[in-house]
Symmetry: C2
Subunit: 146 residues, 2 copies
DNA sequence: TTCCTTGCAAACGATTTGCATTGGA
DNA sequence: TCCAATGCAAATCGTTTGCAAGGAA
């Protein structure tokens, strides 16, 4: 199986954490890459056609998150969705549908992102809190839920 | 029992939704008001000294959220925290500790908030998505977790 | 061969719900 | 009085884990 550029980065990162990039995990990553936003274990289980049992899915997700390849995201009720970490796909934000809970990626224009960073830098670091990052969620209704 | 101004707003809102503002619910609201950020059922159960059983707590939280008095917030793994809705306490954002999961409120300076709103307005409304609000999470380490 | 990974089933923790009882308007 | 609220226990739901079998280095 020919590794894409992305696969190579991921494999390297995993190997550095003594984690194997197995075919099952490759399928999981592929499903996440194909999605346009973070996905939950259940959603992935659905798109992977039951070929990967839930428990393995959960384990793969957690292992790859520990290795820094995936990042967890919490938005709708009790479900954790995963996406590729930002060092792999770049910094971005999310559009969250308050009706169905769907989450889509959105990248801000460079000037907007810069403004946001300035703003966060100015506001954080209050009372002993040290900021290490930020996440902007734009809430609304997605096209399906109008 | 003397209602504060806030209690009155809440009672009115609840009554409009045929929901009663009982003493138990008042205690829940008081605990949330006393906190400086959203709180989970478990955390409230703790501070309320076991006087309110968990199941009732969950029920109260969900009923008051449906009535628009409380707003749910999802950040750390599988726990839902509630806070007073913004029409009661004003618009604000959150400082989230990536280590312990604690969440604190933070209010942006007016100009910063205005800038943020402009930024969101410009970025959203992409591909059929209609934005109705935004939430900024500033991630980092709280004073306890340094 | 040595470990990591996989699968299945059982275990968990957070949250929800059925039902009989209590309490508020 | 009448219907919503409460408590307890049982049920759910998403997620985790123990353990034996399979697979990659």
């Amino acid at each position: 199986m020919t590794d894409t550029q992305l696969d190579t980065q991921i494999r390297t990162q995993l190997v550095n954490h003594e984690v194997r990039y197995t075919s099952g995990r490759k399928r999981v990553v592929a499903a996440i890459v194909a999605a346009d936003g973070p996905r939950s274990a259940a959603e992935l289980h659905e798109t992977l056609g039951r070929g990967v049992p839930l428990s393995s899915l959960y384990r793969s997700l957690s292992v790859m998150a520990d290795a820094g390849v995936l990042s967890p995201h919490h938005s709708s009720k009790g479900v954790t969705r995963y996406e590729l970490s930002e060092w792999l796909v770049g910094h971005h934000h999310h559009l969250v549908c308050t009706s169905c809970g769907a989450v889509d990626d959105i990248e801000l224009p460079t000037e907007a992102e810069a403004a946001l960073e300035r703003l966060v830098a100015g506001a954080a670091d209050t009372g002993g809190f040290t900021s290490t990052g930020h996440a902007l969620e734009i809430e609304g209704r997605c096209s399906q839920c109008t």
